[in-house]
Each structure stands twice: as C-alpha cells, then as structure tokens.
C-alpha cells in the first residue's frame, strides 16, 4: 500500500531495455546489510503547539509561525498550517522537515484525486485515517515522522477535528491542543466548552486568540505571530499573520529581571 493508494503498479519492476530480465519471485534475494539503516531520529527545526476547536458550522485551527532550532528562534515566518482541499486543513507541530515531506505527499494525493475527476474528494476523516496508518507504520519501522498533527474540516455538514501523533495515536475531540498547548491551552478551551457545548464562530475565535496569547506569554518556544485557519461549509480560509496584544508591565516585578 502506497501513499497514493489509487496508483496502479502493474508495470512497476518490469524489464529495463537491454537488461537481462529475471522473472519476479525467482530468487529470494534480499540485499543484506546494504542500504540506509534507520533509527529513531531527533527533531531539528521544530514547531510548537497547534490548537483546534469546533464551532457551530465549522472548525478553527491555530498555530504560530515559528520554526525553532532548539532554543533559537530560527525561522520566524513559516506556516505550519496547510489547506488540504476545500473541506480540510492540517496543522503540524514537531519536526518541520517531516511536516514539509507530509505536505508534499498530501498535495500530490490531492492532485491525483483531482485528476481522476470523478467528483469524489478526500474528507477530513479520510485524511485523518490515512495519516494515522502512515504514522503508525513509520513508528513500527522505528523511523517516525516526528510530528503531532491536527486535522480539521467540514464534510456533509459535520465538523471534524482529529489528532494524530508520531506514535500513531489518534483521536477525535471537540478541542485539540498539541505540545505545550496541551498543558496551557487545553484547560482553557475545555473550561469554555464545559459551560457551553456549542460555540459560535466568534466565540471560538476569541477563545483561540486568548489561548494563543497565553501560549506566547508562557511557552518559551513560541512566537507572537500566528495563523488561524477557518473551515466552514463554504470553504477554507487561512488568516494571518496575526499578532496578540501583550502587556509586559509586570515584567519589572520579576526578580530574575525581565525588563
């Protein structure tokens, strides 16, 4: 099974012109020891939290625009949110290069599907399921894509919000937060939803803005420049770059000296 599962491989592994062709299955030759050896990696350039929240008629996804190189705020204008198709968006935290690889694969999948031109397109759930399988298979080969991904969208009038991580753990929920967001923002989001199970778009937007502000204050690997993706029945919109209003007046009170 391939990433683009509707590709047909009937002519793959065929004879090359001028080459001596041995029929498949003749000798069970597996090249021993040669070829790249893989082990679990360390992430290099990383993205921090991604937040997601459902509202009445759609979903919102937010992620800042920073690629950290350890503690260095290295790339300060990168997008960690992508539009998959008119009903799905995807946000990623973790290794940025792995996200870029995923982005390329997914974009090609979407193109391949457009080429089929048969009126069917990937639902958010389909992308979520597919990604879960990919991530789990990679982890099982001890060569993970070092990301935590949030997938959101609207399909047949229903909102979808899902989480997939590098272990292949996957779940759906009305609010999702990865990385530091799980500790700092998730309680804030859940508190709002506990009071009111269905939010309006504006309420959800305010909630995310508040959470992004808190994350900028408290997450040492965050940045005050973020994007918000909005998905509704009418389509996908990615707003940004946005900035939180911050007030550092109390900074001088901190003993270790934030001026």
């Amino acid at each position: 099974m391939d990433a683009g599962s509707f590709k047909l491989n009937f002519w793959a592994n065929g004879p090359k012109p001028g080459e001596l062709y041995s029929f498949p299955g003749a000798t069970g030759s597996t090249i021993p020891g040669c070829g790249p050896v893989r082990h679990t990696l360390n992430p290099m350039v990383t993205g921090t939290s991604v937040l997601g929240v459902k509202f009445d008629g759609g979903i919102l996804l937010a992620a800042d625009m920073l690629g950290s190189y350890g503690s260095l705020a290295r790339f300060r204008n990168i997008s960690r949110v992508m539009k998959v198709n008119d009903c799905t968006v995807l946000g990623a935290s973790g290794d940025y290069a792995d996200y870029q690889y995923l982005k390329q694969v997914i974009e090609q999948m979407v193109i391949d599907e457009e080429l089929l031109g048969d009126g069917h397109n990937y639902s958010p759930k389909a992308i979520y399921s597919w990604l879960t399988r990919v991530m789990y298979n990679r982890r099982s080969k001890m060569n993970p894509l070092w990301n935590t991904v949030v997938i959101g969208g609207v399909y047949n009038g229903e909102s979808f919000l899902g989480y997939v991580d590098k272990l292949g753990v996957a779940y759906e929920a009305p609010t999702i937060a990865t990385g530091f967001g799980a500790y700092l923002a998730q309680p804030l989001m859940r508190e709002v939803l506990e009071k009111k199970a269905t939010l309006s778009k504006d309420e959800a937007y305010e909630l995310l803005e508040r959470c992004m502000k808190v994350l900028y204050y408290r997450d040492a690997r965050s940045y005050n420049r973020y994007e918000i993706a909005i998905v509704t029945e009418s389509g996908v919109q990615i707003e940004g770059p946005l900035t939180s209003e911050t007030n550092w007046d109390i900074a001088h009170l901190v003993r270790s000296g934030f001026q």
Binding site: S5, F10, L116, H120, S123, K125, A126, S129, W130, R133
Partner: protein, 270 residues
C-alpha cells in the same frame, strides 16, 4: 466447428492475444467475450435510489447445486457474473481487497467508479502480455455510494461501461431489447417495480418450454440508499417471483402497445 459458424477465415491470427489480425482485431479477446455469452443470463437495473441485480443460476447436472452468480464485494457493492466462474472468483477477491483497503486506510467506502476503473485496468493487463489470456468473465457491478446508485458492466477486453440497465450472458439480447423499451421508466421506479423489471428482462432470456423461473434458479440482489447489498436466494426469492405474472412474450405484441401494457396492468404484491 470454428469455421462453420464464423464468416471470416481467421485461424492464422487467433492463437495469441498479442497478435493483431489484418482487420485490426484481436481474436483472442473476442473469443473471451464469447465465453461471457456462454454463461447464463444476468440482468442489472438502476433507479434513482436503488440498483438491482437478478441472475439465472445454472445447475451443471441434477446432482449439483445451482451455480452462485451474485457475489457480495462490500457492504455497498456487489457483482453478478457471466462466464468463467473461476476467473470471476479471482476478480471478486481483488475487488474485496480493494474495498477493505479503502475502509481500513481512509475510513471511506470505495466509490464504485473507482473500483470498476481498477478492475478495468486489471482486466487489460493479460490482453497485452505474451503467454497470458484475457479473463473470461463479464461482470455487472452494482453499488451505492455518495454519488448515488451505480451500475457498471465489465468485459474481458478491459472495457467497462456505465449503465442505466444491462443484461449479459446467454440470450441476453432479448433482455436488452426489453430493457431498452422500459429504459426511461427506470429512474422513478420504486423498489418493487425495479425488481419486477429485472425479472421480466430475465424472463426474456428463458426458453418458455425448457426452463422456468423458480426459487432454485433465480438470484435477486438489491442495494441502495440506506440498504446494504443484500442477496436473496432460494425461499427469499419467492416473494419477488410471486409478483410476476405469466404473459405472452413481448416480441409478439406490436412495439407501441407493449410499453403501456407493462406499466398499467400487472399488480405487484410484496
């Protein structure tokens, strides 16, 4: 026997599927399509909401059971076959695998048009490879997906066709003639009428003196909106057959009146 029934002398160009005849034909493929015509008849009909497959099951001898003609591929897709049963089993297995993969990877039931496309591509391979032979089976693929009900026909040539209604197998031309006549009524048929049209078409393929429809030799299968692919065999077919009344063969009536008499006169108990 070959020369006696064919108008052309073509023995020279029909031994391999990789050989073209001077007339631009590949005889092996055409011979494979003949195998489909040797199989017992099966009919498919489609309305706006449902698809129905009906098939005449043949028994090889009085001792054997009637050969299964309708196979389930997934919750929402099924096929009926005409031709080499073994080839059909292989294709059915392939189709089931593809459907399972779609459900497992994408949590999405495979759209029928895509499945049929894959089958078509698979059918084409042995028509262009030395040492292989075309699959000797034609399928009627019936299913329901997000875009509604679908009916497709596949051929040993690798071609596949989207159909409003179709009949394949022995003496299926009579059934197709019937279907052409009632073609425009089909979209708005309710389920009972749809099955009835299918069975009437099937009846056209049966020699009135030699064989009759019975619960033993007819298979009915239905799928559609809010209805998983369901196969009716043996006793379960009885209610469908009861609604069918015996009437003189359509060929004896003038073409104009038969369409109207079909619609108004027959009661259908379900």
């Amino acid at each position: 026997p070959r020369l006696a029934s064919w108008p052309f002398f073509r023995n020279q160009y029909d031994s391999d599927v990789t050989v073209w005849s001077p007339q631009g034909r590949i005889h092996q493929i055409e011979y494979a399509m003949e195998a489909v015509k040797q199989g017992s008849a099966t009919v498919g009909v489609k309305s706006k909401t449902h698809v129905v497959l009906v098939a005449l099951k043949r028994a090889q001898s009085k001792l054997t059971a009637h050969q299964k003609k309708v196979l389930q591929v997934d919750d929402h897709i099924g096929i009926s076959i005409a031709g080499l049963t073994a080839d059909a089993q292989l294709l059915c297995h392939f189709m089931r695998q593809e459907c399972l993969e779609s459900k497992f990877v994408f949590s999405t039931p495979l759209p029928i048009s895509r499945l049929v496309g894959m089958v078509g591509s698979k059918l084409q391979v042995p028509t262009q490879r030395y040492g292989r032979r075309p699959y000797g089976v034609g399928l009627l693929v019936a299913g329901y997906d997000e875009q509604g009900p679908h009916l497709f026909q596949t051929c040993p040539s690798g071609n596949f066709y989207k159909c409003k209604a179709m009949a394949i197998g022995a003496r299926s031309q009579s059934a197709r003639t019937y279907l052409e006549r009632i073609r425009d009524q089909l979209p708005d048929c309710d389920l009972n009428e749809l099955v009835r049209h299918g069975l009437c078409a099937l009846q056209e393929t049966v020699h009135p003196k030699k064989q009759e429809h019975s619960t033993e030799n007819v298979s009915v299968a239905i799928t559609g909106k809010d209805m998983d692919f369901t196969i009716y065999d043996n006793d379960a077919v009885a209610p469908f057959l009861q609604g069918l009344q015996k009437e003189p063969k359509k060929q004896e009536k003038p073409a104009g009146s038969s369409a109207t008499s079909q619609a108004s006169e027959e009661p259908m108990e379900q």
